[in-house]
Symmetry: none
Subunit: 374 residues, 2 copies
DNA sequence: CGTTTTGCTGAATCTGACC
DNA sequence: TGGTCAGATTCAGCAAAAC
């Protein structure tokens, strides 16, 4: 290793990302428009692709052309094939414009979601979760021939197995009353005031509820991130993005949807910063070493720590290590060794004798953080 | 179109079906054994193929205990291509031996279900529903890196668009307290007495709960129908078939599974009414998180909440947490902290300013439940 | 003997910073 | 780029043990 390399500060290799103008709507075909965007410029893609497949007599190919009859196998194969080609095309562009650590969400039903999921995997995306939107008030099955179709499926995927995607774990947990957010989400369908109508008719047949996009964006983006929706429709993605302080790009072909979308986004009020902030995971909080607490007098050298059941006792040394006689180790190592475990969080394992009982040393750390926070 | 085709009388072709010996277990490879069965001899196929999980290293719980994961060879495939070839092979045979009006069920997770669904469609099967098995007690996500994987997906498909499949609509409606059975089923995972163990260890890593098979068979077969399970495992399909008066054929390769399965089926007695009621899951009160009210717009981020005496004021944040400056916490935790109490019911502690005075946020929850209940 | 507490476990693609 | 190590991380159901 040369001298220069040793002297030069070790810098994390920045993922090559590009910038792009956001908060705008692109009129026209989604594949063509995506193709015009630079590589690695999008933080999240939310896609609600068409799945007008096998809906009976009136069948259109994704490219708009009409399929005559659907009564024989050839046509079925043809329509699946066409749909797969369409899916691969837009996914390829999506993958290119998505940042290395960006993620993609796609929503669909059993008509198309299996083909979309397969295509995602084939293109190299790494599926992180499939999410079930369990509809609180679905349309009943009028003919009594099947189960009530009461859900839709979303797929959440990263660029690859090792990508460092955004997941606001703590915010999701808080949103769910201090329980981990699960892969099944109970949310009402879009109706009432939220449902866009014109002349008494709904503007878009499958308008998604803002609550769905709210959760998706809160979970997987940071404020300021750019969210692209290649099948923008009436702009739910844009409206929620604006409300949550995210940037958005929408692509839409149909003029009446565009009109409704722009009007709607204009009316969406951004939240102010305090309302926008969310619960942070400790991971994102300042890191404090146990030794710092010793140095700053939060715990004295010579103090005795025990586990919750007082089975083991260890003494704090001046450098922040623990000792049980001759041996010394970090709070984590010592805890792991004693339990015969591969690892151990010393902050929660070790306790000190406070005036009101045994408390984990993590409480001291919290006190330290609160006292030293700006 | 030729003349002969027009002249020939259009006669509904009688479904040509064959008979086969049932209530037996075939030892060995599922594709080879299916190939040995005659055409159109099976009424329903239930398949729980390998999920192709591709797990990495070991996983430990936060308390250090080890997660006993699926490490069996039968779940290992080299690539998606290899998995797809395997899937197509067994589905081809499945389609051949299934009667024209028979149906197939396949269960999987996001690792494999999209590939299975695509293959089903490509082979010509007609998807009738995708069903979500919403697990009442899933394994949590220990690392806090994703959403808790709390469901599995089942696909129900017929031989084609026009096949006259069996669907016991009324039975399903009765099972669901006189409401149409939905596409999301809440059922516990297999545990307790039902879980087969030997020497303290589970016999099969992924034993399915009988309640799941019970609902599937009750919905889509008639008494006396023949149900084939090509991935028989420890024979849940066989046990439930016997209890429900259906016939069964199982195919399994692994001798220890076979032994457990035969013993189990032997012990399965036809279900009496008291046992039947146990199989049914109790309808549970919908649980609403405070965050859901924020997502759905029942209360806006930035809104101010107070206690009944207006001694404390807190602001609602985007993730449903409350803040009084820098600190954030859930409605319950914040209430407890302020009062110096060990716990607090945030729903009744916190109030919002309504047009007709101060009201507990629990009123909003009631409104939400009333609006979204089916 | 009834009630409460403690312990175990389940189809899981489960870390990240630094050297 | 692989090795090392600090440190962050869990919910519901059931069963066995303790009270």
């Amino acid at each position: 290793m040369g001298v220069l390399e040793r002297v030069a500060p070790r810098r994390k290799k920045a993922a090559a990302v590009n910038s792009v103008e956001a908060n705008r709507l692109l009129r026209g075909d989604c594949i063509a428009h995506m193709a015009s965007l630079p590589d690695a410029c999008i933080d999240m893609i939310f896609a609600d692709p068409p799945y007008n497949l096998q809906l009976g007599g009136d069948l259109n190919r994704p490219d708009g052309s009409h399929v005559d009859a659907v009564t024989d196998d050839w046509d079925k194969f043809d329509s699946f094939g066409a749909y797969d080609r369409f899916t691969k095309s837009w996914l390829k562009e999506a993958r290119r414009i998505l940042k290395p650590n960006g993620t993609i969400w796609v929503i669909g039903s059993y008509h198309n979601i299996f083909r979309v999921g397969t295509a995602l995997q084939d293109e190299g995306f790494w599926i992180l979760n499939d999410i079930i939107w369990r509809k609180a008030n679905p349309m009943p099955n009028f003919r009594g021939t099947r189960f009530t179709n009461a859900h839709e499926t979303l797929i959440w995927a990263s660029q690859g197995e090792d990508s460092k995607y955004t997941f606001n774990y703590k915010a999701m947990k808080t949103l769910n009353d201090e329980l981990q957010m699960r892969s099944d989400w109970v949310l009402p369908i879009c109706g009432g005031q939220e449902r866009l109508k014109k002349g008494g008719h709904k503007v878009h047949p499958t308008q998604k509820p803002e609550a769905l996009l709210y959760r998706v964006m809160l979970a997987c983006t940071k404020p300021g991130d750019i969210v692209l929706d290649p099948f923008f429709g009436t702009g739910t993605t844009g409206a929620v993005a604006r409300r949550l302080g995210r940037q958005w790009i929408g692509i839409e072909r149909q003029e009446d949807y565009i009109e409704a979308a722009l009007e709607r986004i204009e009316a969406a009020l951004p939240l102010d910063e305090s309302a926008l902030s969310i619960m942070q995971s400790p991971r994102q909080q300042p890191k404090v070493a146990f030794g710092t607490l010793v140095e700053t007098g939060y715990i004295a050298p010579g103090a005795v720590l025990t586990d919750i059941k007082r089975r083991w006792r260890a003494t704090v040394r001046a450098d922040g290590s623990l000792t049980m006689g001759a041996e010394g180790a970090s709070i984590h190592k010592m805890g792991a060794t004693l339990q015969g475990a591969p690892s151990c969080n010393g902050w929660t394992f070790w306790h000190y004798e406070a005036t009101d009982g045994l408390k984990p040393i993590d409480a001291l750390r919290q006190t330290y953080i609160l006292a030293t926070e700006p």
